[in-house]
């Protein structure tokens, strides 16, 4: 078969795999994105006792292969099957998709926490004091001053992290989740046609490019206030 034919016959599976990759990545990134700012706050302003478990968690996640983490959760949960059944959690851990998502969330949360910590620590203290001085509550300061600034600082690094997460999502195929990588291996084992790998590469690159393009557009919006104005009446 030539490369075109293989795509003609297998495109529904590859499309299905692509959707799965997107699902893993987006879901993982969003859940991690909801948790990490709070951990980052604790990590940069919390007491030492509160910080320590977060530090250990981040260090562990960064110091171990994602594949090992995935096996630890997916196969490891089997060792506690009776206990998990009792808790009603066994159905969750039996499903490789759930385990993959859990691992990606744990992983991305650790990395995003570090990134957001950098962002939060980069916020100008003077601006926080100014907000206090006009009587904003802590929550308002967080919402109106700290987080907007922190996200602006962290935005490019977050983009990198999401691309890393998308690449890591290919590991889900090892525990039989049929993402792009899973479908590719499945098709290869059937056809022994090498070109399916090249198609997979192309799809991954396309996703990355589209993502980078979109992310840049959002970044430009976030940074509106510091970009040079391009209207002509600024100079006369």
């Amino acid at each position: 078969m030539n490369p075109i034919e293989i795509m003609v016959s297998y495109w529904p599976r590859m499309l299905d795999g692509t959707l799965m990759t997107l699902k893993l990545t987006i879901l993982g990134a969003l859940i991690a994105g909801a948790i990490s700012p709070w951990l980052a706050l604790v990590r940069s302003h919390g007491s030492l006792i509160a910080q320590t478990p977060i530090r250990i968690y981040v260090s562990f996640v960064r110091g171990t292969p994602i594949l090992a983490q995935l096996f630890l959760v997916f196969y490891g949960s089997g060792q506690f099957r009776p206990e998990l059944m009792e808790l009603g959690l066994w159905n969750f851990f039996r499903d490789p998709f759930n385990c993959a998502i859990l691992v990606f969330v744990l992983n991305s949360t650790a990395y995003q926490t570090e990134i957001m910590r950098g962002g939060i620590q980069g916020v100008n203290l003077g601006e926080i004091e100014a907000a206090k001085a006009i009587g904003m509550t802590r929550m308002t300061i967080l919402r109106r001053v700290i987080f907007p600034h922190a996200y602006r600082i962290a935005w490019p690094a977050l983009s990198n992290e999401i691309i890393l997460l998308m690449k890591a999502s290919a590991l889900a195929s090892v525990v039989t989740v049929f993402d792009i990588m899973g479908r590719t291996r499945q098709i290869f084992s059937k056809t022994f046609d090498f070109s399916i790998y090249l198609w997979a590469a192309l799809i991954y690159l396309a996703i990355t490019s589209l993502f980078v393009f979109g992310w840049h557009r959002i970044e430009r919006r976030l940074n509106r206030h510091i970009l040079p104005r391009n209207n002509a009446n600024a100079v006369s």
Partner: protein, 235 residues
């Protein structure tokens, strides 16, 4: 519990240590190959010849955008197919063979490492102090002498933190080769799990071993950084 990890027939300590040795061998073999690829690609990306520059930039862009496991399969299966068709072409009667998973692992990991290292090296190269390079020319050093005696040692200093990170990432990526049947730490753990039916215990131990390797690497790297930065005024 402890006898599970003892050394010898009853425990899995020796198997796991052998796996760890394979993992380390793989990582240590990958590093120099990856660095060479990194330098080649970095210089390609900075070349004055446009076509060469495109190759360099294209390589880093593509390799950094692909999942490492995909690269591994492409190398393993691709090289395997290539090897077999070469053998068939040479001797149509010959049996097909499998491409060495160790070699495939080194090549794939080095290709990934090289792509990221190229970016680190390029950044370091651009932060070299032009004045110091001019000073080398001014005392009469040839461009080759300037490269080996002035640029390279300083490049090292700027590149070390980035390369250190890549080393740690690569160390973790070695776990992927277990998928192509190389008996590394990850795969030996899997074998132990198959027999003992204690997946959590064994995968946790594997994780802890990787963790120790990474933390040790970080400690050594920060010493190396301190050494490389001796004599430089801290800002």
């Amino acid at each position: 519990m402890l006898e599970l990890f003892s050394y010898g027939d009853t425990g899995w300590g020796d198997e796991i240590l052998m796996g760890l040795a394979t993992t380390m061998k793989l990582a240590v073999a990958t590093l120099p190959v990856g660095m060479i690829i990194g330098f080649l690609i970095a210089f390609a990306a900075m070349s004055g010849i446009r076509a060469v520059r495109y190759v360099g930039v294209g390589y880093t862009t593509i390799m950094r955008g692909l999942p490492e496991i995909l690269t591994l399969f492409v190398v393993y299966n691709g090289a395997g197919l290539l090897l077999n068709s070469l053998i068939k072409w040479w001797n149509p009667e010959a049996e097909g063979t499998d491409f060495s998973p160790f070699l495939a692992g080194v090549i794939a990991l080095a290709m990934v490492f090289g792509a990221f290292a190229a970016e680190v090296i390029r950044g370091a190269y651009n932060s070299l102090d032009k004045g110091q390079i001019e000073a080398a020319a001014a005392v009469g050093m040839t461009p080759q002498q300037t490269f080996w005696r002035i640029k390279l040692p300083q490049l090292w200093r700027f590149a070390l933190p980035g390369i250190g990170n890549l080393w740690i990432n690569m160390l973790k990526d070695t776990a992927l080769v277990s998928v192509i049947a190389l008996d590394d730490l990850m795969r030996m753990t899997k074998v132990a799990v198959g027999v003992t039916k204690q997946p959590f215990t064994f995968y946790l131990v594997a994780c802890l071993i990787y963790w120790v390797l990474c933390v040790l690497s970080e400690m050594i790297l920060s010493r190396m950084e301190r050494h490389a930065n001796r004599g430089v005024r801290r800002a």
